[in-house]
């Protein structure tokens, strides 16, 4: 019995819907705070930023799943798609807040997408998530076969663009976006670690 067995056993018993519910709890909480002054005197920006940061955190959690299994034997594979979908939901909400609460002016939306590099990067990342979200179901996995795995490597690009989006929008040199980008690049680098060929004992 390995030390990670109890962890893996517990993970097997936790249903994915419980993870969905737990990770979506911040949404009503943030909306409530925004309405009651808990997000400060400019709640739109605060809500937008909070949703974006949660999306980045979920993408980072999703990127941890494979290295956890590979290097530590911890198996959370059944939640990988869950975290991907949750990240997509938060990016989508972040986009909705930007579109309808923050900008709210159609002509300015398009100008911003074309003219502001950080928004262009964010929109590209969202667009790349669409096919991933659409195929995050068992039927698609079966139907696409090996193509599915190749397609879902787009996650790496999405995470990188998300980190870049955050880096580009802050004023001056701030620590937080650098930490996020560091985590993302580190997790991507782990995937470059060569697989050891099995040596017969």
């Amino acid at each position: 019995m390995s030390p990670v067995d109890p962890i893996n056993g517990t993970a097997r018993r936790v249903p994915t819907w419980a993870v969905y519910i737990l990770c979506l709890l911040p949404v009503p909480w943030l909306l409530y705070q925004g309405q009651t002054g808990g997000l400060g005197r400019e709640p739109i920006k605060a809500l937008e930023h909070a949703l974006g940061e949660i999306a980045l955190q979920l993408l980072i959690i999703g990127l941890c799943i494979t290295p956890l299994r590979r290097f530590l034997g911890v198996n959370f594979m059944k939640f990988r798609r869950t975290f991907g979908m949750l990240a997509f939901i938060y990016v989508f909400l972040h986009l909705l807040v930007w579109l309808f609460l923050d900008v709210g002016i159609v002509s300015q939306i398009w100008t911003d997408i074309v003219k502001r590099p950080y928004i262009t990067v964010g929109m590209v990342a969202f667009a790349l998530m669409l096919p991933l979200a659409a195929t995050s179901n068992n039927w698609s996995v079966r139907r696409l076969g090996p193509t599915w795995r190749t397609l879902h490597r787009l996650t790496y690009v999405v995470a990188f663009l998300g980190g870049l989006h955050f880096l580009l929008l802050t004023r001056g040199i701030q620590l937080e976006p650098i930490l996020y980008m560091g985590a993302i690049l580190g997790l991507l680098a782990l995937r470059r670690v060569p697989k050891r060929s099995r040596v017969a004992a």
């Binding site: 925004g34 309405q35 005197r41 400019e42 709210g104 300015q108 950080y118 001056g172």
Partner: protein, 301 residues
């Protein structure tokens, strides 16, 4: 320019703060049901301006000497000692020296000026200032004929200003105006808001207010005013000349390098407030456009 700027609004037009706050709470209650978004201030030039709430004006500030967060100044500015206070007026003036705040106030006539306030970060408020025209203060010191610019400096007192330990800007904060901007009747030194003494986070005991320029030009807690014959250095221009020009006039057609300046959001409108169009010279085009005749406003941003 020999005319006095006339406020078209009187004391009677300022909603007493108490009434104003009650109405806001009522509105906030309705907004809380998700039915309406509170609308902000004036939509166009000539509309009656609705002053922002005291809590918004004094609770959402940029005053980096007290921290870079919007709520930091309100939290930390109580540390600032504002009495005694004196302003060093020097350079090309007939009567240079340290002018005590009380002596200045004894000679100035305080008026109310309800002005739009537009931050470079694309948010705005309407603030009922109390203060006097800068021109009157300059006349008190006697500007000499060669004086072409006026430089201003904010207090630098690290033991009372937790924000200056970070090198966000090159302290002390400095600003400047061209002489014709400085003596323009719209340019005031503010000493109060809503008829009360100006709170520390808003630049006590006296600050500049130049309503047609982005907020960072309206330098706070002034300790020195220098009349000079060359364009003075200004803090944000030193820190990032591509993003913050010396003039920094509010202009919806000249974007900040990273965001549009075409629209703004009035602070205090809650989750469903809408952006409104930014006005040329922040709505003071009729009064100030003449100052920049023949100047390329993109080049001299």
């Amino acid at each position: 320019m020999a005319y006095r700027w006339k406020n078209t609004l009187t004391e009677n037009d300022v909603t007493p703060e108490g009434v104003y706050m009650n109405r806001r709470q009522l509105m906030a209650g309705v907004a809380g049901l998700g039915l309406v978004g509170m609308t902000g201030a004036a939509q166009a030039q000539g509309d009656v301006l609705e002053p922002s709430a005291w809590d918004d004006i004094t609770g959402y500030n940029n005053f980096y000497e007290f921290g870079t967060g919007k709520e930091d100044p309100a939290r930390n500015a109580h540390m600032l000692t504002t009495e005694p206070w004196s302003v060093q007026i020097d350079g090309m003036v007939d009567r240079p020296g340290a002018y005590a705040f009380e002596d200045i106030m004894a000679q100035m006539s305080i008026e109310e000026r309800i002005y739009r306030f537009r931050c470079v970060e694309a948010w705005s408020m309407v603030i009922p200032w109390n203060g006097f025209e800068l021109r009157d203060l300059l006349e008190m010191a006697g500007v000499q004929s060669g004086g072409k610019y006026v430089a201003f400096e904010t207090l630098l007192r690290p033991e009372e200003m937790p924000g200056v330990s970070s090198p966000v800007l090159d302290w002390p904060y400095v600003e400047g105006l061209r002489m014709d901007e400085a003596v323009h009747p719209l340019t005031i030194m503010a000493t109060g808001i809503y008829g009360k003494d100006i709170p520390n986070q808003n630049g006590a005991p006296l600050r500049l207010v130049v309503p047609w320029k982005y907020g960072f030009k309206s330098i706070k807690s002034i300790v020195r005013i220098t009349v000079m014959d060359e364009q003075p250095l200004t803090s944000w221009n030193k820190s990032n000349p591509r993003e913050y020009g010396f003039y920094s006039n509010v202009n919806p057609n000249v974007d900040h390098r990273r965001w549009s300046q075409a629209t703004e959001r009035v602070v205090g409108g809650g989750l469903f407030s809408k952006r409104q169009p930014t006005l040329m010279f922040n709505g003071y085009e009729d009064e100030v456009a003449g100052l920049y005749e023949g100047m390329d406003l993109v080049k001299f941003n």
